[in-house]
Every structure is written in structure tokens, then in C-alpha cells.
């Protein structure tokens, strides 16, 4: 089997953590991977999948747009976004900065900084369809609404913490927390869906 080409958007955020989690996930699955740090349109060429890390969604958006990357990113078949990455995937965003735009690929509505400021950031052991994991929420968003084709992978009370959407040959995975800090389960799951 040919090595999967997995890009990690690398301008800013917890890029190294995602690279490590992806490489470990590849080893666990015994799948050959080529992880690419993405900073330009050229870097997006020929990717099987893209990971959008945690960071500041407004900064990531601006840097992507300055490189003219939004168009080509929308054509990528598999995208996994954590925290800021989930915001970039969402069709609708609450508590936006004035000029904020997203890729608008997933039929979900996300509220930015929904828990409050950093002093409200937290860790919690949560139940997911992949089992129990230690989840880290940092100035985290909430997924407040999902479309009918969106599958929920983790919930806490009424709060949706993780979800996925497959339509046609496209697959998107969005998480409010940062699995890359504590587990490779979600990276393995994402790779297995490609």
C-alpha cells in the first residue's frame, strides 16, 4: 500500500503535538504515512488528508487566506480539526471576530470561547464512541448545533464534544478538545477512515 500523505497545517498552534500523535497512530495501525507540514498552496497538493490543529482560529484563517489556501483546502477529501480546527470546519460560528470566515465544510454551528476565558479551561475524563479518554479543553468552543448528516462521537450532558460528517467522497471530523495532548485514539480513527 502506498504511504498516506497527511498534511498538518503548520503556521501556528500545537502542530508538533499533532505530528507526533499522527505518526504514533500510523505505527499502531501499521500504516505507512508521510506527514507534511503545510504552509503554502503547493504543500496541499496531493494530500490524502489534512489536520487543522488547535490555535487561534482567526490567525489560522488569515494566514490561510493570505496564501490563497481556502479554495484548495476545500477540495481536500479528509479533514480533521481540533478546537480552532473545528471552528474552521464549521458552516456557522457564534462569537466571531468581525471579519472571521471559515471553510464552511461541515454542517455544524460552533460557539467560540464558549466556556469563557482561560481560567475556565479544564480537563475532564469523557466518554466517546472510541472509549473513555482524558480530554483537555482550552478556551474551547462548543458545538451547539449539528445537521442531520452529522454523527456525534462524544457528548457530555447536552454538550456535543466531537462529531463527524461523511458526504460523497468527503469526510470531516471535528473535536472541541485536544486529543493530541493525551491520546492517539482519534488520530487512529481518522486515519482508518481515509
Amino acid at each position: 500500500m502506498q504511504a498516506l500523505r497527511v498534511g498538518v497545517l503548520a503556521f501556528h498552534g500545537d502542530v508538533a503535538e499533532h505530528v507526533r500523535a499522527t505518526e504514533e497512530a500510523g505505527k499502531h495501525l501499521k500504516r505507512a504515512l508521510h506527514v507534511i507540514l503545510v504552509r503554502t498552496k503547493d504543500d496541499l497538493r496531493g494530500l490524502d488528508a489534512l489536520i487543522i490543529p488547535g490555535g487561534e482560529s482567526t490567525t489560522l484563517q488569515k494566514l490561510c487566506e493570505r496564501e490563497g489556501m481556502f479554495g484548495p483546502m476545500k477540495r481536500i477529501k479528509n479533514i480533521f480539526g481540533t478546537c480552532a480546527g473545528a471552528i474552521l470546519l464549521a458552516k456557522t460560528v457564534r462569537n466571531k471576530e468581525k471579519d472571521q470566515r471559515t471553510l464552511g465544510l461541515m454542517d455544524i454551528e460552533v460557539e467560540r470561547n464558549a466556556y469563557g476565558r482561560q481560567t475556565e479551561s479544564f480537563e475532564k475524563r469523557i466518554q466517546t464512541t472510541l472509549g473513555k479518554i482524558d480530554a483537555t479543553f482550552i478556551r474551547a468552543p462548543k458545538i451547539v448545533k449539528v445537521g442531520t448528516d452529522v454523527e456525534i462521537l462524544a457528548k457530555d450532558g447536552n454538550e456535543i464534544l466531537a462529531c463527524e460528517e461523511a458526504k460523497g467522497n468527503k469526510y470531516y471530523l471535528a473535536l472541541c478538545f485536544h486529543p493530541e495532548l493525551t491520546t492517539t485514539k482519534f488520530h487512529e480513527y481518522f486515519l482508518s477512515r481515509i
Partner: protein
């Protein structure tokens, strides 16, 4: 299952999310918006930028809470603020204001010449300055979740920032060599010299880098300065006076963000550096009356 707030993972986690970014000093809501628009990952709210603190003299203290609140209202990115070294009540006030990160900063006039703040007692995370590995590890042991190499704030001169990045790097290389050769005795001596636990020295030696995120600061005035720090291995940069003391802050702010995002791409750095107007006027380090970087050991 309960939520745990204020854990070290949560505190250092925010710094991890800021990596590859630029944190800009701002003195009012209008500047904060310029910074956010340029692509800053956070802003540092303070009353005067370091070069003005230098020029004005006198005691520099924590900012007016009203100004911090106005900046919090103006932007959606994290807002940091500075307290004086050892002034744990200023830190309590900043935490009560729900500042996202507290900078226990040598740019303000120190309040305690013996003790830094016990940062483990706070829910808000702290960033602290360091000019060598000993200072960095002492601050981490006190609970800092992020380190910035000090540089010389308000100087517009990159030389001290480079010195401090290189010093920390070479001292980490030294302990890494000791670890690789299994020289426990020497590593223990290092821990005693740095006045920190052996475990912390061992952890750093194993990792080959600081166990928390490390930004550069102090004297960054151009996109090339920022990219230089990045190529020397730091995780991101703080820019103080360099932006709003330049001829065209909007353009310079954006150019520095772009240079950090593409720090190995010289063509890109050339393109963003074009026609930016004058940089802030820098100063020779030897001619400075006060060396902020000598504060806080």
C-alpha cells in the same frame, strides 16, 4: 466525572496553542484591534510599551484594570497582562480580571528582590522571563507554564534576545550530554547549581528542550528579527515596542506575523519586509541606563 480547572496541563496547554504565533504589546483597545487584525495570537495589555517606560523612568506597575477590561472587550484572542516580579497581589487582581496569561515581568519595577510569585497557587497561567537555563528552570519550578527569553525590552536591539536564546540552548545541550553519558553525579550538581529539583533537570535533559513552551522577547523590531529568533529554535515571539513605535504599525504587525508563520522562507520575509517605513529607533545596549534583563534572578 468532574471538570478540573487550573491544572498544569491546562495552563501549559494554552501556551502550546500559541506556538508559531506573535504576541503583541498594546496600550489601548484600538491597538488591540490592529494586532488582532494583523493575525496576532494574543495581546499583552499594558499602560506603556517598554521603550516609553524607559524614557519616562519612575516605578512601572500593573496596568489600570479598566484599560485591561476595555482590551478584553475589544478582541476575541487571549489577553495577557503584566504584574511586577514578586507582587502576588497584582497577580491576584489580574486573575480576578480573568486575564488569560499573567506575565511576571522584569519590564515592570520589581516588588520583591528575593522571591518570585508562587505561581502554583494560581488558576491563571504565568509566563516568566529568563536569560539562562537556571532562571528558566527556577521559574518553571515556581509554576510558570511558559518561558520567554528576556532579551532587552524597549531597546529595539535584538542582540540580547539572541544571547539569551543561545545561552539557554547551549546549557540544555550541556545537560543533555550529561544525561546521554549517564553522568548522574554531574546532573545532580547542575540541579544544585540551578537551585531546582534533580527531576526537573533530568526531565529537561531527556527532552533536550525546556519542558514548557519558550517564546523570544526583548528587542524584536523587524520581520527578519522575528524570523531569526524562530530559526534559533524558539516557539514564537513577543513584540513590545517594535510595532507601535514604528512608522506604520498595521503593516509592520502583519509583516511580523507573516515572517513568523513562514520563518524559513527568505523570499517571503523579503516580500513582507518591503517598504515598511521606519522601524523603531534602537539603542546600543551599553548606553542603556537600566538593564531590565538583570532584574529577577
Amino acid at each position: 466525572m468532574t471538570k478540573k480547572t487550573g491544572t498544569f496541563r491546562v495552563k501549559s496547554g494554552l501556551a502550546q496553542m500559541l506556538k508559531g504565533g506573535v504576541i503583541m504589546d498594546v496600550v489601548n483597545a484600538a491597538q488591540a484591534r490592529v494586532a488582532e487584525k494583523a493575525g496576532a495570537v494574543a495581546v499583552m495589555a499594558l499602560e506603556r510599551v517598554p521603550s516609553d517606560i524607559r524614557a519616562d523612568g519612575g516605578v512601572a506597575r500593573m496596568s489600570d484594570p479598566k484599560m485591561i477590561k476595555e482590551i478584553q472587550k475589544a478582541v476575541t484572542i487571549p489577553v495577557m497582562a503584566k504584574c511586577r516580579i514578586g507582587h502576588f497581589v497584582e497577580a491576584q487582581v489580574l486573575e480576578a480580571l480573568e486575564v488569560d496569561y499573567i506575565d511576571e515581568s522584569e519590564v515592570l519595577t520589581p516588588a520583591d528582590e528575593q522571591f518570585h510569585i508562587d505561581k502554583t497557587k494560581f488558576k491563571a497561567p504565568f509566563v516568566c522571563g529568563a536569560k539562562d537555563l537556571g532562571q528558566a528552570l527556577r521559574r518553571i519550578q515556581e509554576g510558570a507554564a511558559m518561558i520567554r527569553t528576556k532579551g532587552e525590552a524597549g531597546s529595539g536591539n535584538i542582540v540580547e534576545a539572541v544571547r539569551h536564546i543561545r545561552t539557554v540552548r547551549s546549557e540544555i545541550d550541556d545537560i543533555q550530554k550529561l544525561f546521554k553519558s549517564g553522568n548522574t553525579r554531574k546532573l545532580k550538581e547542575k540541579a544544585a547549581e540551578y537551585r531546582v529539583s534533580y527531576e526537573l533537570v533530568l526531565q529537561t535533559a531527556k527532552l533536550g528542550k525546556l519542558p514548557v513552551v519558550n517564546f523570544a522577547a526583548g528587542g524584536i523590531a523587524t520581520p527578519a528579527d522575528a524570523a531569526l529568533c524562530m530559526q534559533l529554535g524558539v516557539d514564537g515571539v513577543f513584540v513590545g515596542s517594535g510595532i507601535f513605535k514604528s512608522a506604520d504599525p498595521k503593516k509592520r504587525a502583519k509583516a511580523i506575523v507573516d515572517a513568523v508563520a513562514h520563518f524559513t522562507d527568505a523570499k517571503k520575509i523579503a516580500a513582507v519586509s518591503e517598504n515598511m517605513g521606519e522601524a523603531m529607533k534602537g539603542q546600543e545596549i551599553l548606553k542603556l541606563e537600566t538593564r531590565y534583563s538583570n532584574r529577577g534572578q
